[in-house]
């Protein structure tokens, strides 16, 4: 069973915002809602500037699920954290609980792709967030699902559009184990990065040979 995760390689991200644009376009996200955004630190400082694409990280132990007073969150078998907008009361607790600022609330006068107002509840509206392109609790691929949650690419056998569109493949999305294999391979080839604290715990030597390793090329695994 896959554990769906995102991984952003800060060494590769060039702050092109292609992931943000792809997400906006794919799901026809209204103004004022940013399911994904690119964060840059040390902006303008030569050699120290780093960018990273951030959205809902589909936490294994999601704090949004813990604080929701109406229990509108659920986790799919593949580890994707989704929510039922029909149940959401727009209280904003999830926004305060989320360490990534993923939950978004529509601005006033925002509208769904079909033109309906999304000011469903007071000034805050229903919460909206990254769905890992997995839609929500409506019929897969239906118009209703698209209007409320955006396109359901996972049910089409595709990965999130932000990751698949990333030009430098800085942003990876999919099964966490495969992503870890890909990242480990990159760092090994790069020759730097495995010295950081916590590397061994997160990306230590795999028990099996990486599926992402170059065919016929045995590389030394980072310790």
């Amino acid at each position: 069973m896959a554990r769906m995760k995102f991984l952003c390689d800060a060494e590769r991200c060039i702050e092109c915002n292609g992931c943000v644009t792809a997400c906006k376009n794919e799901h026809e996200v209204p103004w004022g809602i940013n399911r994904r955004r690119v964060v840059t630190i040390n902006d303008g400082q030569e050699g120290a500037e780093k960018s990273m694409s951030v959205a809902c990280m589909h936490c294994s132990d999601a704090p949004c699920m813990a604080v929701c007073p109406v229990d509108c969150f659920y986790k799919t078998d593949d580890g994707v954290v989704l929510h039922d907008k029909d149940l959401c009361i727009g209280c904003g607790y999830c926004f305060y609980a989320c360490p990534f600022g993923a939950p978004q609330f529509p601005a006033s006068n925002a509208s769904a792709p079909d033109g309906r107002s999304t000011d469903w509840f007071g000034a805050r509206g229903k919460m909206d967030k990254c769905t890992f392109c997995a839609g929500g609790p409506e019929e897969n691929g239906s118009e209703e699902e698209f209007a409320k949650y955006g396109r359901n690419r996972l049910s089409e056998g595709k990965l999130p559009v932000c990751a698949e569109m990333c030009s430098t493949k800085a942003l990876l999305g999919g099964d966490g184990d495969v992503l870890a294999d890909i990242y480990r391979e990159r760092v090994t080839v790069r020759g730097k990065g495995s010295e950081v604290w916590g590397w061994g715990t997160a990306y230590g030597k795999p028990e099996r040979q990486s599926d992402a390793s170059p065919a016929g090329k045995k590389t030394e695994q980072a310790s």
């Binding site: 896959a2 699920m65 813990a66 929701c68 109406v70 229990d71 509108c72 969150f73 659920y74 799919t76 078998d77 593949d78 989704l82 929510h83 039922d84 029909d86 149940l87 997995a134 929500g136 609790p137 409506e138 019929e139 897969n140 691929g141 359901n152 996972l154 049910s155 089409e156 056998g157 595709k158 990965l159 990751a163 698949e164 493949k169 990876l172 999305g173 999919g174 099964d175 495969v178 992503l179 294999d181 890909i182 391979e185 080839v189 599926d211 992402a212 390793s213 170059p214 065919a215 090329k217």
Partner: protein
């Protein structure tokens, strides 16, 4: 008068001592249960003949395409 003083003293002592007691203030965490509509698994569609293995195979194939080292013509 003496009786009233004693009564006041008893009430005061009881009142002051009651402030020394402490009730547990930590609310026990109770994990909620999803209360919304059930969702259909992604693999339950015509595209994958309703078989989870077919869907997982396709997702795994896409997953691996994200590595330049394994893509045809990759580094």
């Amino acid at each position: 008068m003496k009786r009233l003083s004693c009564l006041i003293a008893v009430v005061l002592v009881a009142g002051i001592q009651s402030g020394c007691g402490e009730m547990p203030q930590d609310a026990p965490y109770q994990g909620g249960h999803y209360a919304g509509k059930p969702d259909t698994p992604n693999w339950q569609g015509e595209a994958f003949d309703g078989k989870r293995e077919n869907w997982e195979r396709e997702i795994k194939r896409r997953n691996k395409l994200q590595s330049e080292y394994t893509r045809p013509g990759g580094a």
